[in-house]
Subunit: 257 residues, 2 copies
């Protein structure tokens, strides 16, 4: 059992929680909580860290056999946990790299393309809702918040394991690739002409979603085939990025039913 | 200028930021930031607290005439602010009480009824989206998170001033009142029979939305005329409460266009 916060593994775990650079260099990420552990694909789990209390209470139920397990004293566990009331389990999981071609292989594509999204909770909620809406893949510009941020992972509620996504170096080039696949590209834009529900999404479609504060950059918005807007009542200028994305994703769902 | 954190007004402001009880006893709440100040109805502003720096820079633009203004040293301002990077303006605003009858007076009612919602960000996002979707009013059970929580207010992006809402002592009784108005009551429920888009929302409608972790209580769910669900792909069990609410609200919008 590890009882000291100056233990090398503890220090490393903390680095992995806090630094996207460390996570991405090592191609791993950290998930926390019982649900996130149970839903993790077993063959991607590198190591499990469990608190003394949880280990003594639930070691049978959790089915830890065949996994590398480290027990941490409750104090040390609280120290490395990213939550206020830790459930007592953290795991290191291997990242899964999706290629653009894999996303294209799915017929009737439904893509979400995120530019410079900054809020970890928004991103996690989009990932979760995207799985629910049957989205085929999420493409992120390299300046988006890191999807392996602990807060993002929590908000995905497990969809992080199942939703195909990839970060791209050059978003413009990637959008060109998308268009070559005959996938229609829609920009969610306050200056959109048509309301979002006036378009037909039965064929392949992709939505460009911009930064929370500033929306899409001019260059990216101009690459879209069509600008659509979500028409609104009252004095609301715009919707939260995750809300706007969800309304669009479920409109596609609705039309395809 | 107030330069000490032990000043009486500063202490009171901090109490108002932190304690819903203090806010509700005095029928006021605190908003922060330039946008929130500019959108606040002038006749409801009790007092403005402004940082020395912002005052010196923008006293003209902000049009403070006729308002009670206190200047705080930048250090004191940071101390009372609820944000990491304060914009330099806080105001005390009077609460506005909406009555159930006022909500009913609007024709073609579209109500959201929230039971035991706990996340301040979710509530704020629902308020913001509700204004955008033309919702006529939000009814909250008394055990919902306080709508005047600083995080909720921030997430409303100003809709807090404009969206009619009320907390009710007895949610069951209130739902009975709603039904008496011939408003159809839908429960958003994982065991819903019909998909949400198979219903007709052109007449008055109300949606029951439950707690983030546990959904609706059995007693409240059973009061609904119809249970609807948002059918999903993948392994997603449920959507975030604000996302589910938004999909429902904009489906009503879509049908009524």
């Amino acid at each position: 059992m590890i009882t000291s916060t100056s233990n090398g593994q503890v220090k490393e775990l903390l680095q992995l929680q806090k630094k996207s650079k460390v996570r991405n260099e090592r191609n791993i990420f950290v998930v926390e909580g019982i649900k996130m552990f149970l839903e993790a694909p077993r063959n991607r789990i590198e190591k499990v860290f469990i608190s003394e209390t949880l280990f003594n209470k639930k070691k049978q139920e959790l089915d830890l056999e065949g996994l590398k397990v480290e027990i941490l004293s409750d104090k040390v566990f609280s120290y490395v946990s990213d939550t206020k009331t830790p459930q007592g389990i953290l795991c290191i999981v291997r990242q899964k790299k999706t290629k653009l071609e894999e996303i294209f292989r799915q017929k009737q594509a439904h893509l979400m393309i995120l530019e410079n999204l900054q809020d970890p909770g928004n991103l996690g909620t989009i990932v979760r809702t995207a799985e629910g809406a049957g989205v085929s893949g999420i493409i992120l510009s390299k300046d988006c918040v890191d999807i392996y941020n602990p807060k993002t992972i929590r908000s995905t509620m497990g969809s992080i394991y199942r939703m195909p996504f990839l970060y791209v170096e050059n978003l413009e080039k990637t959008i060109e690739e998308v268009k070559k696949q005959k996938i229609k590209v829609y920009a969610a834009h306050l200056q959109g002409k048509n309301n979002y529900d006036e378009e037909n999404y039965k064929s392949g479609c992709a939505f460009l979603i911009g930064n929370e504060g500033n929306g899409l950059s001019q260059e990216i918005a101009e690459m879209a085939d069509i600008w659509v807007k979500i028409r609104m009542h009252g004095q609301v200028e715009s919707l939260n990025a995750a809300i706007a994305s969800s309304i669009l994703m479920f409109e596609v769902c609705r039309q395809r039913r």
